[in-house]
Symmetry: C2
């Protein structure tokens, strides 16, 4: 059950383990956008993205028996490192399924946290089936990337912390991939400040949640092509969609060029590094016509110098 | 007179105007270096560098008559924008002398704060003489980039804030250009924690302070070639050197490649943007053999995507 109490419980569990990330402000940004913007900088979170919150909360809810055997996850991205680090901190073992074309740096980072990495062919293998099989074979508990109440509750602490610092907001911008971050943040926000307008942000060609909200049921889209790889989902999560359908007021879309411009703005004006998915909310703010007090979740900053260079070439 | 009281006075004057920048920590950095490091992130300061502190403090000490006519400064870098913004905030006029080959973005930023920019040929013009002449002709008060007690006192608030958060440190690493940041930080630190080892950091080929400390008097070196343009001074300041000669325990040098590596580490691991001069202290930490609790001043983050790309190519 995802409610404010679940998110407050997650906040207690991650206290002193996850970082309470800073809320950045910028007079330049405010002048350029005509808003008063509060940027929750989850790029500074452990493992470089909000994912650590949900993973650690989920691991903290396991029974001693589950911890004794370990956990499994499938991810090519930030969830992999989040589960790996959370497992190490909780004294258990993590096995992570990653596509075999995952950049070596990400595989190394995941192994660096002590996880076992198993690779699979993303074109022929079904990661969900492989993950289920792995979990069953080895008695591991699967930690899904978003579609799980404990994961969503953990991600909701992002909004909880933000609102504790800012007080009521007129608008909250949250990137949507599978929808876990949004489900948690929307739950916290709608309880604490029901009048805040909750707006999701998706990449133009990865608008599965926007389409699903419009049609009233989960819609599957073709594998999306976007530089925002963390949001390249084909279909919203089942649990996340049920929450977001109830609480999200609107979804706005941003193009790759707008994401690039937001990454540049973050670099040159805010002096912070954002990965493409981490910059979509900022892109929505910069390209939008919002006013008032706007919360913006910068979800992550995991990008190499080389990829950054290529994207902004 | 530069003492702890002067720095505390500066802290009161800049309170609520300059940002109290965050102190970053990183378990990766601690593991890699064998230290417990505290990074004072002045790249997040207004105008993107510590320079705003000294400029604003100096402007705050002017008489109403001085404010009525205005201020002048010469700088191709962060001091220009710092004086321009401080002047706007204090309701006075700033005239900034900049070399005519200054990147347009820096000239625009300085003008953007409302300053008048006058350019000169850096190969034929003597900026000190030009600045003095300008100040005299127009009755302006010259705000020097480092060699002034009010400027040094303002820069000292960097260490004051850092030490308030960290308590005693074993080592403090501070970049040295003209020496104003170091003079202020060394003064604050030596008063508050006399046992802290105070270490300056210079680019390999801009080691005018190191040579001056060794020879016991200010030494002039040829125009230094280094990517750390903010530290490319030919000779230490007169006032700053008097302080640093008394309080600095050691100066270490870092090469351009080490600076590049530190900028990359900051980008990929810390998710923060540092200009070359802003990364020299971190370079010293990464390349050194320090231990214990180490304070590291990250002095600025003003760099375009294009220059960053070129430097790390």
């Amino acid at each position: 059950m995802l409610d404010l109490e679940a998110i407050r419980g997650a906040a207690e569990r991650i206290d002193g383990v996850a970082l309470r990330t800073p809320v950045l402000t910028s007079s330049t940004l405010d002048r350029d956008t005509g808003t008063t913007a509060f940027l929750k900088a989850e790029n500074f979170q452990r493992v470089g993205a909000f994912k650590f919150r949900g993973a650690y909360n989920a691991l903290s809810r396991l029974t001693p028996a589950q911890l004794a055997t370990g956990v499994a996850a499938y991810s090519s991205g930030n969830h992999a490192q989040a589960v790996a680090l959370a497992a190490r901190l909780r004294g258990t073992k993590a096995v992570i399924l990653m596509p075999e074309d995952t950049p070596a740096s990400k595989v190394d980072a995941t192994r660096g946290y002590g996880a076992e990495v198993i690779t699979y062919d993303r074109y022929t293998g079904d990661r969900v089936a492989l993950g289920d099989q792995l979990a069953e074979d080895r008695g591991l508990t699967l930690i899904p990337p978003y579609d799980h109440p404990h994961v969503m509750a953990g991600q909701g602490t992002v909004a909880l912390e933000l609102l504790e610092e800012t007080g009521p907001l007129d608008v909250l911008l949250v990137p949507i991939g599978g929808g876990g971050l949004m489900a948690g943040c929307a739950t916290a926000t709608s309880h604490l400040h029901p009048k805040t307008r909750i707006v999701g942000v998706e990449p133009e060609r990865a608008n599965d949640t926007q389409l699903s909200l419009r049609s009233g049921e989960r819609v599957r889209i073709p594998v999306p092509r976007t530089i925002a790889d963390g949001q390249a989902t084909e279909i919203p999560g089942e649990l996340t969609f049920a929450v977001n359908q109830r609480l999200v007021d609107d979804v706005v879309l941003v193009g790759d060029d707008e994401i690039r411009a937001a990454m540049r703005f973050a670099f040159e004006r805010l002096k912070v590094v954002l990965e493409p998915s981490g910059a979509t909310s900022l892109a929505a703010l910069l390209g939008g016509t919002l006013s008032g007090r706007v919360g913006v979740v910068l979800s992550g900053g995991n990008i190499s110098v080389e990829r950054f260079r290529d994207l902004l070439a």
